[in-house]
């Protein structure tokens, strides 16, 4: 009985430590996306560089591609931008931009200045497509497979670590 009195609080304490050790190291801003494993929502938008031309995810059917949500007003987009430019230079995977709640001229200027890694950028001026993709923190990046299914979502800028450890291996696996 005396041993129990010592052991029970110890077990409870160990449980709490384990609970907090997991809970406190998680990022509460990273909301699990309900999109993983689901078809990428359809849309048809004007292209940023050509208001006459449109882009739709249907156009990418049969390819593994990235949909990167960006805006010229978005500070963290600048952080990941060099990485995207480098990826496009090496032709790693086609990247489509979703220019989110931006002004057309601002977006075009931003790309002219910092380099344009996008095969094409869709122009989502009112952010409605962004809502359909559950975007809440630009930049966000979706990895979409040949069948048009979302396989991964990066919230916030793509870090070199996320690229090496998660995104590139996933793209390679999906392309295989």
């Amino acid at each position: 009985m005396r041993v129990l009195k010592f052991i029970i609080p110890l077990v409870v304490f160990a449980g709490l430590v384990a609970f907090f050790a997991v809970g406190l190291t998680r990022d509460p801003r990273e909301v699990p996306s309900p999109f993983i494993g689901k078809a990428a929502p359809e849309f048809k938008l004007q292209q940023l560089h050509d208001a006459q031309a449109t882009f739709s995810p249907e156009d990418m059917r049969g390819k593994v591609w990235l949909l990167n949500v960006w805006a010229s007003w978005c500070v963290s987009c600048r952080v990941e931008h060099p990485l995207l430019v480098e990826m496009s230079r090496q032709h790693v995977v086609p990247i489509v931009g979703l220019n989110y709640k931006d002004k057309r001229d601002d977006g075009k200027q931003w790309l002219a200045k910092l380099g344009n890694p996008y095969a094409v950028s869709a122009f989502d001026v009112d952010g409605l497509v962004g809502i359909d993709y559950g975007v809440y923190g630009v930049p966000e990046t979706f990895v979409i497979d040949r069948q048009g299914v979302i396989r991964y979502k990066q919230i916030g800028p793509i870090t070199p670590e996320a690229l090496e450890k998660t995104i590139l291996p996933l793209v390679k696996k999906l392309e295989a």
Binding site: P32, G127, I131, G134, G137
Partner: protein, 162 residues
């Protein structure tokens, strides 16, 4: 004259304040009421500890407008909530649904209370089972009483020394 100017000025200020408090041109009171009811139950993803009704984040504004549009289109509250969870997951709901993954959230507090009650009853019952006074052996009684007397006297004496 002066009074007229002041009244006109106050009216202008009130008008401006009123215009600012509503974010759309012609709010329909019925839609606004339903929208508020829904938005107060939804978490703003950008500023996670505010509701969509409270937040000034651009996304919250977009989502409020989205709710308005859908109400005007005749969608039910349930459909609108589904629209939100399809995009942002159960996390947007301030009242998450009861599921395997949220069971601990809903049941946990009640389980803790139940556990507390059980422990409490257990302790009380054990205390009642052991008679407190009878455990002091007769030969030590005198000793104890002497000690109690002494401390009693000390207690009385203390205020005087202060």
């Amino acid at each position: 004259m002066m009074r007229a100017v002041v009244v006109a000025l106050l009216l202008a200020i009130a008008g401006a304040a009123f215009a600012q408090s509503s974010e759309i041109a012609k709010p329909d009171p019925a839609i606004e009421r339903r929208m508020k009811g829904l938005a107060e139950e939804l978490r703003c993803l950008v500023c996670q500890n505010q509701t969509i009704a409270d937040s000034n984040a651009p996304l919250a504004l977009d989502l409020r407008n989205q709710i308005r549009t859908q109400i005007a289109e005749g969608r039910t509250d349930r459909q609108i909530r589904e629209y939100m969870t399809d995009r942002y997951g159960d996390f947007v709901l301030y009242r998450p649904p009861f599921k395997a993954t949220t069971a601990i959230l809903w049941v946990g507090p009640f389980a803790m209370v139940a556990l507390g009650v059980v422990v409490f009853l257990f302790v009380v019952r054990r205390r009642r089972a052991e008679p407190a006074a009878a455990t002091v052996p007769q030969e030590r009684r005198a000793e104890l009483e002497a000690l109690l007397d002494e401390s009693g006297r000390a207690e009385v004496a203390r205020p005087k020394t202060d």
